[in-house]
Amino acid sequence: MSWDLFVWFALGAVLCWASGAFFAWKGRSALVYAFTLAGLLIFFAFILGMWISLERPPLKTMGETRLWYSFFLPLAGIIVYGRWRYKWILSFSTVLSLVFICVNLLKPGIHSKTLMPALQSPWFAPHVIVYMFSYAMLGAATLMAVYLLFFRKKASEVDMNITDNLVYVGLAFLTFGMLFGALWAKEAWGHYWAWDPKETWAAITWLCYLVYLHFRKARPAEWRTACWILLFSLVCLQICWWGINYLPSAHINSMHTY
């Protein structure tokens, strides 16, 4: 599989996802599942192809992590649709996925076969994949928050129930990702936590979602504040994921630069 083929796989997948989103508005759930899953299959075929041709998991560069993010977003969307029949979620997840696909088309990054020894570990794939799935879940939760705050301007118990569930699953995977990273760091670098800038921002992000969780328990009626906490948390998450490369603190000595 070569990167040049990405545009075609992406086009096919996005067309499927968009059709799925369209049929969600029409209430044709069988077609929603069929199209969304077909899109996921097409997209995953490309990831798998890259994995085989690179002879390593495609998780090294920023572009490669965006690939997984674009894949997991519609997956999160179809899970929410399956459980709550929320008809607009697939439109949102498709658009957001498309944004990340476009970023990848404009800024493909380098996809060489080389994988430095520090990354050659059984922890590599679970650490990054779990994180990307978590980011997609928390991204979907943020889509909910944006929708409730700025479009609907009100929130029912069911709306917040969906948001909460997305955050619980997202936070669980965020914890897995962080702790897998810690266990891996012990094997690779000698210590499980070194307050490397990436680790510091991972801790910040994790704490932010803990604030959300506790706040929802304490003040279930104040959904607006809860949604704003989610927006703030997502900013921290993005800093952790890629924004960190633009911070002065990371340039000095981050071990997470690849």
């Binding site: 936070l171 307050w195 921002w201």
Partner: protein
């Protein structure tokens, strides 16, 4: 304000008080010197922390603040302060010394440490509260809070006993001298003999694998032979030996290999905390998430 029940506002004030107290300590005593916490001091500190949490729990009916501290109303402001201070840390380049006063050595900054300690006290109290009023369905809650308490507390107190030494071994003779992070000479009580430095490169010359065939001799007369790879350390007498570096200018022809020797007596306690947190995260998803409400 300060009328019972206390709420978030009181929590933010208590946190603010801790910040002020921390700043005063920073100005008067100076940054925290974690070396002073080396064993047995850290064991005593852990015992004191546990005693403090226990005493606060027992006095909860007498002192309202302790009762309040077991609940969300205290946890939320505390977490917010922790987020704020940790963001400061994330924005400031962290250095061993120099840089921006106070902020560049955040781990030694009193307000940061006090807020995180407060967080651990709250987590400890919440754990104890649920442990002693046992209900089976609260197990996920206990696992999560106990896990965080153990992992963070033991990682912090244990850091004083953590040894990370660098040892450069040449091919011609065994080496027993190492240097610590501050550059001081240390003798870890074992010697390493380098038999062969192994290196594979990709087509573009970037390293694919670097490793060392070594024999480790210990003071008690043992000798252990093996290959140390990146991501595959060798364990000898409580030390973990990591492949760390080599002569980058000579690459595969490097005549020496650099190892990192790590000893962390508190690791099992931290790992127990980490495994509890992993189990807790699974619980979060399967048991703690609110039940699905249908549209």
């Amino acid at each position: 304000m300060w009328k019972k029940p206390w709420n978030l506002k009181e929590g933010f004030l208590v946190g603010g008080g801790l910040l002020v107290a921390g700043l005063l300590l920073q100005v008067t005593i100076g940054p925290i010197n974690w070396d002073l916490f080396a064993a047995p001091v850290n064991y005593v500190m852990l015992a004191l922390l546990l005693a403090l949490v226990g005493a606060m729990y027992l006095l909860r009916r007498k002192v309202y603040a302790f009762e309040w501290m077991m609940h969300f109303q205290a946890a939320i402001p505390c977490l917010c302060y922790a987020v704020g201070l940790t963001i400061l840390m994330g924005l400031t380049p962290q250095t061993r010394q120099g840089g921006i006063p106070w902020l560049s050595q955040m781990l030694q900054f009193w307000p940061f440490v006090l807020i995180w300690t407060w967080m651990m006290v709250i987590a400890g109290l919440a754990t104890l509260n649920h442990l002693l009023r046992w209900k089976w369905r609260e197990i996920p809650f206990i696992i999560n809070h106990l896990g965080v308490f153990l992992a963070v507390t033991c990682a912090t107190l244990g850091s004083a006993d953590l040894k990370q030494l660098e040892m450069t071994v040449h091919g011609d003779s065994p080496e027993w001298r190492a240097v610590d992070e501050a550059g001081n000479g240390q003798e870890p009580g074992l010697a390493i003999e380098l038999h062969r430095f192994i290196m594979d490169v990709y087509e573009d010359g970037s390293p694919k694998r670097f490793a060392s065939d070594i024999t480790v001799y210990t003071e008690d007369g043992k000798s252990v032979s093996g290959t140390v790879d990146v991501n595959k350390p060798l364990k000898v007498n409580g030390w973990k030996i990591y492949q760390y570096d080599y002569d980058a200018r000579r690459g595969p022809e490097s005549e020496y290999s650099v190892f990192m020797l790590v000893r962390d007596p508190w690791l099992p306690a931290v790992y127990l905390g980490i495994f509890l947190m992993l189990a807790g995260a699974a619980c979060l998803m399967f048991f703690m998430a609110p039940k699905t409400k249908k549209v």
